[in-house]
């Protein structure tokens, strides 16, 4: 049953993609409306759509840092210790 569901979705991948963007947009807009910006902990959160921006930046920063750290030479073959 699950497999069928996934096959169904895979067949309509473009639709799924657009649907996804739609959900993300809906969530961001909903938060803009719903969040009460007067009782937040810090001034940063007063920015509209703060958490969305924060998350996008965070995710990109993490991936970037991971790749940079790996490039410094920390990344090696899996059998490094067996040699």
């Amino acid at each position: 049953m699950i497999v069928n569901l996934i096959e169904f979705l895979k067949a309509r991948s473009k639709l799924v993609r657009h649907g996804g963007y739609g959900i993300v947009a809906a969530i961001v807009i909903w938060s803009l409306i719903v969040i009460d910006r007067h009782h937040v902990h810090s001034w940063l959160e007063k920015i509209p759509g703060f958490w969305s921006l924060f998350t996008i930046v965070s995710a990109l920063v993490l991936v970037f840092v991971a790749k940079a750290w790996a490039k410094t030479g920390i990344e090696t073959d899996e059998d490094y210790y067996d040699r």
């Binding site: 699950i2 969040i35 924060f54 965070s58 995710a59 993490l62 991936v63 790749k67 990344e75 899996e78």
Partner: protein, 598 residues
Amino acid sequence: MTGNFGFLHPSLILLVGAALLPFIRDPFRKPYLLLVPILTFLDVIFLNANPGTYGVVSFMGDWTLTFGRVDSLSSVFAFIMALMAIIGTLYGLHVDDHWQHVAAWFYVAGSLGVIYSGDYLVLFLFWEMMAFASTFLIWFNTDKDSLAAGYRYLLVHMFGGVLLLLGFILRYQTTGDFSFVPLDEHHSTLATWLIMAGLMLNAAVPPFHSWLPDAYSKATITGAVFMCAFTTKTAVYTLARAFAGFDVLIYLGVFMAILGIIYALKENDVRRLLGWEIISQVGYMVAGVGIGTALAINGTAAHAFAHILYKGLLFMAAGSIIKATGSSKFTDLGGLYKKMPMTMLFLLVGAVSVSGFPLFSGFVSKSMIISAGFEEHLPLVGFALMLVSAGTFLVAGLRLPNLIFFGEFKGKQEVYDKAAEPPWNMTMAMAAASILCFAFGTFYPMLYAMLPNAGIEYNPYSTYHMAETLQVLACTALVFAFIKNRIGAKANTMLDLDWLYRRGGRGFLWLASKPIQAIDTAWGEVYRVVGLVPLMIVSRFWAWFDWHGIDGVVDGIARGVRGLGQRVSSGLQRGQIQYSLFFTITFATLALLAFVWF
């Protein structure tokens, strides 16, 4: 307050159960395997309903050992540990080798013992028991790397154990006290730091964290499920008990949370990724302990509770995949949704739980710590942990399932064809854990009622929190959609601090076998050269002297006498008897006359 009902330590049930297991035959074996942890769980529930101090014995005169300190903090941890023991045993029900079950139960017994301990001596006994038992969970894996990994794990934990031992002995020397109680941050001594170091090692706080991904990826499939639940969370309990409010833990916690995500993003081995995830999530808990307020400790306990369930679930799913395909590497997996849909579902439940999706257990626990951070005017801590939340969803909620279940299967075709859902007991265990993740997320007052600090109001389903979380989840997914190929599967690994003792370890062993052994042999040689050789030279001289010198004189006399005797006899002995007789009688008569005369 000592109990006036018979106090039965839950660990005792597990230990006796383990001792009897080799003697239980089929068909009683499987029911017995489930019965023992269930009884343990019932005992824990009973104890939790009757808080107090039990099992106090005196040892060596003036020391008291407390085996059963039951209060709100220990109760919540003991509850989830005992519950996980049931799920874990169910997951491993198909394992015929009873020693694996014995090791697992000893391990859980150790964990419960630590949680209920009231003093450092009892804690240390169970701590060592945990280390020893869990090493076997690694060694029972017959892969070729597991032997070495088990040794590394054991030695690292022995080292941590010795630090802890020295810490509490030193504390005893200065305070005369063994009791396991909160320590004072402002009067910390060397003993405090030693104890903290020992506890930190088990909690995989950097720099003592490298053992975790190493060990958990090399344990047996069922062993890893046990290990992920118990060692680190028991250590978190001990930190919460003794080190609540120590600021250094806040920074260590945040650091480890970020470190875990970064390494997890590049991992190729499923269980190593999950291991780094553990480090990241335990970072939340350690930071919570460091913040130390009532809300923060509640958050730590809740997060530990939730984490045990969903991490156990994730490891169970990972184990199922390894069992089905024989491989744990992303570069050998992919596209398995067709062959293992149920496992995928359970993995997704675990993944969304760790990511903090509403309606699942992670949502109601993680945010308490973050809120506590903001409330204590530590906005950087709060933001950092939110950053990690984004990363968590990215790594565990998106990357992990994507690389296993979607895309193309990257291994051999026969492996793909043979891949199937795991046996009924493993599926049932995963189902149970999934249901619990959902239940505690949706019916969260059940969880909140068990938290140590009562009376703290917290509503996880506030509009603000929902909006915040959904934004994070949505935008992380958005980012992932675009960059997922950049964090795909690569057959690489990242070096970590364990390089010091792994490469260093090889050097260490070389040091032990070559130079030091050489020194020892050389020292023996010194004795020989300096001692024995001159001794032998001197003695040879005297032997020569003795033979040719002193003895030479004696021999010389003897030879002289013999020579004389020969000449005399050749002169005197004519061979004719009459002459001999004549000389003999003459000689005798002369001698007699001489005797008589003088």
